[in-house]
Subunit: 338 residues, 2 copies
């Protein structure tokens, strides 16, 4: 009898240790886009506003994880906060298309099941990340575009808003400015007129590791200012802007979407981790700081593996980013040094 | 003087040998979808019609390669023939959506430059593969969807047709049948009513190797019968349905698109070749016959590397497929044994 009791106690201690060990290693990593303000234009007030919002998203995501939520729930929670903020190019605050509309894209992936969901070109969904999750969880499909995606989201109770919800004066002025510059560039034959790069590649994203040891990744964007022809970037493309696989890592990208699609950046980083046994740091550097730099693919990404190792490489001037561990270890930065 | 002459002759012989060697290894591989007719329903006449059309596409693609055209041109030529045929689920002959429309997707990738182009959800472009190439070559984008893509294609001289061009009585009857079955399944609580799988995963695709040693891949589809909500499958997704990289291989997929997106099938096969140094045969089997079979991801793909080695794995009952080498070696098959 004593022996059995002893074994039961031992088992309890072991199970408890496992749970504690798992709980100890909760991590959330987020980005608010590689298209930061040029350093010269960044004021102390602006910087504080961005960092405060990144902090809020990290804390909210970690709260979900600490309460036993899944990495997917943490990713959704963090991204919704960034989507709802006009500071970032996703949800409220999305940039305008050439036609003066806001067309949003988002995607999500679950590292345990490799289930994925994405929406592209939607104009009335308040939180595209939640619509992407609905596509993943409540349909047999992975990707839906345009009005079809909106119809599906509405049928699943996702919040629909009038498209005017996405209007912000600042983004509208950016469109006007971009169009004026474009016109000047077309009339100019010297090629000396530069397109404004501020905000060009803004996107938000999150990756997280939960107490079950599962990874998830999500990305949401308003695309490129002045974009035309129903252009879709990397954010809603599984393997380009978003990828998660417990066997490798979770990745969310931000940058010049066309390069990220062509180089299947998120999947490539995960493939280097999975097949070449690279660390997330080495794999991220190989793709973002080597392959992308060589071809002029501006941008960055956040990467997280099952052990909680993370990396946030970027080859642009800055990338709004941060991470928070359940231990309390935290970092929120915009440029390389601060 | 004699020495110089001797060297010049040697050089000429060497260069000539190189050119001949390159020309000797032209290859085109095509597929017409993994969604073949159940064997029991395939008649000798139908089989002949399919094989004749596959032969025509292979011969036309090889003609382009032999005349010094690029792998991209050969891929376009072969795919256009399959798109123009009502036999295959792409272009003319595309299946109908739930709303009774034909929504087409296509993508293309150049293995030398990693340039890529894609269109999705287009309803008036006669040859979506040509529109995908226009996006790649004549825009700074990779992917365009819906009316925006159509507007762009029209502006670049791509042939536009009324959407009624895509109507075929046979496909329309398939939609009606699918909808009746769906209704019966909804009313049936035993779960015994099966959705008709004939044509469900039809797609066409091609990969080629040209005299310059460059690879290209292309894929075009009409999607899934009775599809809803602007669903997009793997065909227009770079890394899922289509991928080409001279350093690895060229891949075009056909099958249950959702699984092919989630497993980034085309990129995964290329990653196994690139990073694990697998042969195209081993990499194709690992993904199509192992990973996909384990999760129920029905379908197949065609794979070709820079040395001309090819593989055409599929886990479905059949896959319309064939290849032709400049040596004249040829194979056209539908099922595993014929």
């Amino acid at each position: 009898m004593k022996k059995i009791l002893f074994l039961v106690v031992l088992c309890c201690l072991f199970i408890n240790k496992q749970l504690v060990a798992q709980n100890d290693n909760l991590v959330i990593v987020i980005h608010g886009g590689a298209g930061t303000w040029d350093r010269a234009l960044m004021t102390a007030d602006k910087e504080k506003a961005y960092k405060d919002k990144l902090n809020e998203a990290l804390e909210a995501g970690m709260k979900v994880l600490k309460e036993g939520g899944t990495s997917l729930q943490a990713v959704e929670t963090a991204i919704k906060i960034l989507e709802d903020s006009p500071l970032f190019n996703a949800g409220k605050g999305a940039v305008f298309t050439n036609e003066g509309k806001n067309e949003l894209d988002a995607s999500v992936m679950d590292g345990k099941t490799l289930k994925a969901g994405a929406v592209a070109g939607v104009t009335t969904i308040k939180n595209p990340i939640s619509a992407a999750i609905a596509v993943m969880e409540k349909s047999e499909h992975v990707m839906m575009v345009g009005q079809g995606a909106e119809k599906f989201a509405a049928s699943k109770g996702i919040e629909i808003v009038p498209s005017s919800y996405f209007y912000t004066e600042e983004r509208y002025q950016q469109l006007k400015k971009a169009q004026e510059k474009e016109k000047a560039a077309q009339e100019d034959t010297t090629g000396s007129v530069e397109i404004d790069r501020n905000y060009k590649f803004g996107t938000v994203g999150a990756v997280a590791l939960d107490k079950f040891g599962n990874l998830a990744a999500g990305t949401s964007t308003g695309g490129m200012t002045n974009k035309r022809y129903g252009r879709v970037g990397d954010a809603p493309i599984i393997g380009a802007g978003t990828y998660a696989n417990n066997e490798a890592c979770a990745v969310s990208c931000t940058g010049h979407g066309e390069y990220f699609i062509r180089w299947t950046v998120a999947r490539d980083i995960a493939a280097l981790v999975e097949y070449k046994k690279m660390s997330v740091e080495k794999a991220g550097n190989e793709v973002i700081m080597n392959k992308m730099v060589k071809v002029g693919g501006e941008g960055g990404c956040i990467i997280l593996d099952k052990k909680g190792k993370l990396s946030m490489p970027f080859n642009s001037e800055g990338m709004y980013r941060g991470y928070l561990r359940s231990s309390g270890e935290k970092s929120v930065m915009i440029y390389k040094d601060k």
